[in-house]
C-alpha cells in the first residue's frame, strides 16, 4: 500500500486525498490478488468441460462448449464413485471419533481436578510437536503388521485423538459454568451423562469448529493414504486422482480432462460448504492462536 511520506502533520484535505488514494490502491491490490486466487478454479472447471484436443491445443480460458464426457469418463474408466465413498467414510468416521474422544478428554482436563492433570495435559500437548513425517515409517510397519493396509481403518484409527482437538475442546469447556454441573450432580446424573447431555450441547460451536477442521484435513490428506493404500478400490480421492495422472496408462493420452473433472468434484463442494460455515472454522483457527 502506497501511502507516501509518513508526516505527522498533514492538512485535512491532503490527508483525505492520500487516504483515498491508499484505499484505491488497497482495493486494486486485493482485486488483482483475487484474480490470481480465482484463476485456477476457473481453469479447473473450464478444463473439465474441454475435449482432449481442446486441452492440448490453444490454451483458452473458457471451453468452446460444455462437453460432459470427462465426467462420464471419470465414473466409467475409474472407480471415482468408490473413491468418493471411501473419502466420505474415512473423513466422516475420523470426524465422529475425533469429536467424541477429544471432547471427552477435553471435558476431563477442564472440569476435574486430579493428580497429574497438568503433566498429562502438557504431555499430550507436547505430542503436537511431533511432525507427522517421522511417524510415516513406524506407522507403516505397525499398520502392516496389524494387516490394516489398504483398509480404511489405517486411515482413521491413528488420527482419532489429535492433541490440538483436545486442546480446543478444553478451551471451549472452560466456559461451561461449574454450577450447571453441580446442580445436575445433585439431581443424580452420572458423570458421563453430564458430559453428554449438558456439556456437549453447550460447546456445540466448538464441536462444529473441530468437525470442520478434522473433516477437511482428512478429506484432503494425501501422504498417509498414499503410503498405506495401493489398491484402486481402497483409494481415497487425493490418491486416486494422483494415480490418474501418474499411471502411465499405455494406449491412451494423459487424462487431463477427467482429472480436472475430478478436481472440480473434489474442490467445489468443499469450497461451497466451507463458505457457508467459515465462521466456525475461522473461530477455531483464531481461538487456537489467541490462547
Amino acid at each position: 500500500m502506497a501511502t507516501p511520506r509518513p508526516s505527522t502533520v498533514v492538512s485535512p484535505g491532503r490527508h483525505r486525498f492520500l487516504s483515498g488514494l491508499a484505499d484505491l490502491g488497497m482495493n486494486f491490490a486485493v482485486a488483482i490478488g483475487g484474480i490470481f486466487m480465482i484463476l485456477p478454479f476457473v481453469w479447473m472447471v473450464s478444463a473439465s468441460f474441454k475435449t482432449t484436443t481442446e486441452i492440448f491445443r490453444p490454451a483458452t480460458l473458457l471451453p468452446s462448449s460444455f462437453n460432459l464426457n470427462n465426467y462420464l469418463d471419470l465414473f466409467t474408466r475409474w472407480p471415482f464413485a468408490q473413491w468418493f465413498t471411501n473419502s466420505l467414510i474415512v473423513a466422516g468416521a475420523t470426524t465422529m471419533a475425533v469429536l467424541f474422544f477429544c471432547s471427552l478428554a477435553g471435558f476431563a482436563f477442564s472440569k476435574y481436578r486430579f493428580r497429574g492433570r497438568k503433566q498429562l495435559f502438557f504431555g499430550l500437548l507436547g505430542s503436537a510437536m511431533i511432525p507427522f513425517p517421522i511417524l510415516v515409517i513406524p506407522l507403516f510397519v505397525i499398520v502392516s503388521n496389524l494387516g490394516w493396509t489398504n483398509s480404511m481403518v489405517a486411515l482413521i484409527v491413528p488420527f482419532m485423538a489429535p492433541a490440538i482437538g483436545i486442546f480446543l475442546m478444553k478451551q471451549y469447556m472452560e466456559y461451561v459454568p461449574q454450577e450447571m454441573l453441580d446442580s445436575s450432580r445433585m439431581d443424580g446424573a452420572s458423570e458421563f451423562r453430564i458430559y453428554a447431555q449438558i456439556v456437549l450441547p453447550i460447546v456445540g460451536p466448538g464441536l462444529a469448529t473441530l468437525a470442520i477442521i478434522t473433516f477437511l484435513n482428512s478429506w484432503n490428506s494425501f501422504l498417509w493414504p498414499l503410503v498405506v493404500v495401493r489398491r484402486e478400490v481402497s483409494m481415497t480421492l487425493p490418491v486416486g486422482m494422483a494415480n490418474m495422472l501418474t499411471a502411465v496408462s499405455a494406449g491412451s493420452a494423459r487424462p487431463y480432462g477427467p482429472a480436472m473433472a475430478a478436481a472440480t468434484l473434489v474442490c467445489i463442494p468443499t469450497v461451497a460448504v466451507f463458505l457457508l460455515v467459515q465462521r466456525y472454522y475461522i473461530a477455531g483457527i483464531a481461538s487456537g492462536a489467541v490462547k
Binding site: F56, T85, L88, I89, A91, G92, A93, T95, M96, L99, V141, V143, S144, N145, G147, W148, T149, N150, M152, M180, S183, S184, A196, Q197, I198, L200, P201, I202, G204, P205, L207, A208, A211, F215, R230, R231, E232, N243, T246, A247, V248, S249, A250, G251, S252, A253, R254, Y256, V273, L276, V277, Y280
Partner: protein, 442 residues
C-alpha cells in the same frame, strides 16, 4: 437452563455429517461378502502396470476356457503404477497377494536385494527347460537371479527409429542410417528449428539405448557394477559426446521427467517441430499411435542408426515386462498354463503381436509371415515387423543387479546437468559410479 437434547444445540450440518458417516460405515460393512467357488472354477488375480497386458490375457484366458471343458478361469486383473512395489508392500503386510504379476524389468532389482525373489516368486527355470534356447537369450537375463529365471518376457523391446518422412523430404534430406549421418542431418534440421530426436533424463532412455547398442553394459553377468571400467567407460563417453554434439546443434528435443509420457512429445510431432524418435518396438502401440491418432499414414519405421564399429549391435533394447507366478498363489499350475499358452507358444507369440502389437521373443516367430508381412496403415502400409525382425537377433542383453535401482536414479539425476551442459561426459560417469557405490547396502 439445561438443554434436554444434544441435537437441539448442535449445528444441523454436524448431524448431517454424523448421519452420512454412519450410513457410509454400514454400507461399507455390508459390502464385501465373499463368493464361493465351485470346482473347476478358478479365479486368477493378476497385477500389471499396463492395460494392454490385461487386454491380451483376458483374450487368451477366454480361449483356454473354451478349449477345456473342465476349466473355468476368471482373470481378475488390476492395473497399478508400480506392481512390484505394491507387491512387496502387500507381502510385508501379509495381505492377499496376486497369483500372477507383471514384473517390469526396472522393478525386478527390488526383488533381487537380499535374495527376496526366491521367497516370493516361483522359479520357472525347470518349467522353461529346453525351451530356453527357443527364445532371444537376452530377454531371460532381465528376470534372472542366481541363475534362476522368474519371468517370461512380454516384448522383444528392440529399438527402431520412428519418423515422419515428409519432414525429411521437405528439406531434401535422407533418413540417417549411421550416427554420423544422424548428427549431420540433425544439424541441418536443427538449423530449421526442427529436432531429429528426443533427449531425456531416464537411465534407459536415449543414452541407455545408444550405450547398449554401442556394446556397453552397466553391470556384468554377476551383477557387479562395471559402468566406470574399461570399454564400458569409453563407450559411455563416446555416446555422451555424440549426444552432446546433437544438443549443441539444436538437434534434440529435451524432455525431462514425466512429461516424456505425456502430451509434450505428441504435440511436438503434430506441430512438425519434432521429426522422429528412437524408441523400442512397444512405443508403436502404447504411445505413438494413441498420441498422434490423426497422423495415420504419415509415419515410417527405420532401423536404429549404426555405429562405425562391427562389434557394436545393430539395435538396442529398452524395457520389458516379465510375467511371473507368485509363491502365494494356490493355482501355480494354472498361472503357468496361462503364461505358457500366451507367451511361450508360437500361436501366443503371433497373437500377442496381432492383439497388442508387442514384438515376439521366440525365434520361430521372428520371421513369421504374421509378423513381417503385415501392412500397417498407420505407417502408410509399411511392413514394420520386417524392420524389427531384421535386427531382432542382435538385440543386446541387459544384465541385472540389485544395485540397478540406485544406478538408474543416479544416472537419471546426472543426465540432467549433463544435458544442461554443466558437466562433462567423464564427470557424469564418475558421478554415477560414485553415487551407486555410496548407495550400496543401504
Amino acid at each position: 437452563m439445561v438443554p434436554r437434547k444434544l441435537s437441539s444445540r448442535l449445528p444441523r450440518f454436524i448431524l448431517l455429517l454424523l448421519v452420512t458417516g454412519l450410513v457410509a460405515i454400514v454400507v461399507a460393512a455390508c459390502g464385501g461378502a465373499a463368493d464361493e467357488q465351485t470346482e473347476g472354477e478358478v479365479t486368477i488375480e493378476m497385477w500389471t502396470h499396463d492395460a494392454l497386458y490385461i487386454q491380451y490375457f483376458e483374450k487368451r484366458v477366454a480361449g483356454l476356457n473354451e478349449q477345456n471343458d473342465d476349466l473355468n478361469i476368471t482373470l481378475v486383473a488390476e492395473e497399478m503404477p508400480d506392481p512390484i512395489t505394491s507387491f512387496v508392500s502387500a507381502y510385508i503386510a501379509r495381505e492377499n497377494l496376486p497369483d500372477m504379476i507383471g514384473v517390469e524389468q526396472g522393478e525386478f532389482p527390488i526383488l533381487m536385494e537380499d535374495d527376496v525373489v526366491a521367497d516370493v516368486l516361483v522359479d520357472l527355470t525347470d518349467r522353461i527347460g529346453d525351451r530356453y534356447s527357443d527364445f532371444v537369450e537376452g530377454r531371460w537375463a532381465l528376470y534372472t537371479h542366481d541363475d534362476r529365471i522368474y519371468g517370461v518376457e512380454s516384448a522383444l523391446s528392440a529399438v527402431a527409429y520412428y519418423y515422419q518422412p515428409a519432414i525429411f523430404e521437405e528439406h531434401g534430406l535422407d533418413i540417417p542410417t549411421t550416427w554420423d549421418e544422424y548428427v549431420a542431418v540433425g544439424r541441418e534440421l536443427g538449423a530449421e528449428g526442427i529436432s531429429i530426436g528426443v533427449a531425456d533424463n531416464m537411465a534407459s532412455g536415449l543414452f541407455g539405448m545408444m550405450f547398449l547398442q554401442r556394446g556397453g553394459q552397466y553391470f556384468d553377468e554377476d551383477a557387479n557394477l562395471v559402468f566406470g571400467e574399461g570399454r564400458n567407460r569409453e563407450y559411455a563417453v563416446e555416446v555422451l559426446n555424440t549426444i552432446r554434439e546433437l544438443l549443441d546443434e539444436g538437434a534434440l528435443f529435451v524432455v525431462y521427467g514425466d512429461e516424456f509420457w505425456g502430451s509434450t512429445i505428441p504435440t511436438a510431432f503434430s506441430e512438425g517441430r519434432l521429426a522422429g524418435i528412437i524408441m523400442p518396438d512397444w512405443y508403436n502401440t502404447s504411445l505413438l499411435q494413441p498420441g498422434v491418432e490423426d497422423m495415420a499414414g504419415e509415419w515410417r519405421v527405420g532401423p536404429m542408426p549404426l555405429w562405425d564399429d562391427p562389434d557394436a549391435h545393430t539395435t538396442s533394447v529398452w524395457g520389458g515386462t516379465g510375467f511371473a507366478i507368485t509363491q502365494a498363489s494356490e493355482h501355480q499350475e494354472i498361472v503357468w498354463e496361462i503364461i505358457d499358452d500366451g507367451y511361450m507358444s508360437l500361436d501366443g507369440q503371433l497373437d500377442r503381436y496381432a492383439t497388442i502389437g508387442f514384438f515376439p521373443t521366440k525365434y520361430e516367430a521372428l520371421a513369421h509371415p504374421d509378423i513381417v508381412d503385415v501392412e500397417h496403415a498407420f505407417y502408410g502400409g509399411q511392413n514394420i515387423g520386417q524392420v524389427i525382425s531384421d535386427v531382432a537377433l542382435d538385440t543386446p542383453p541387459l544384465w541385472q543387479s540389485p544395485a540397478r535401482a540406485s544406478f538408474n536414479s543416479a544416472l537419471g539425476d546426472t543426465l540432467v546437468p549433463f544435458i544442461d551442459g554443466d558437466i562433462s561426459a567423464e564427470e557424469l560417469v564418475d558421478e554415477v559410479v560414485r553415487i551407486t557405490e555410496q548407495d550400496a547396502g543401504l
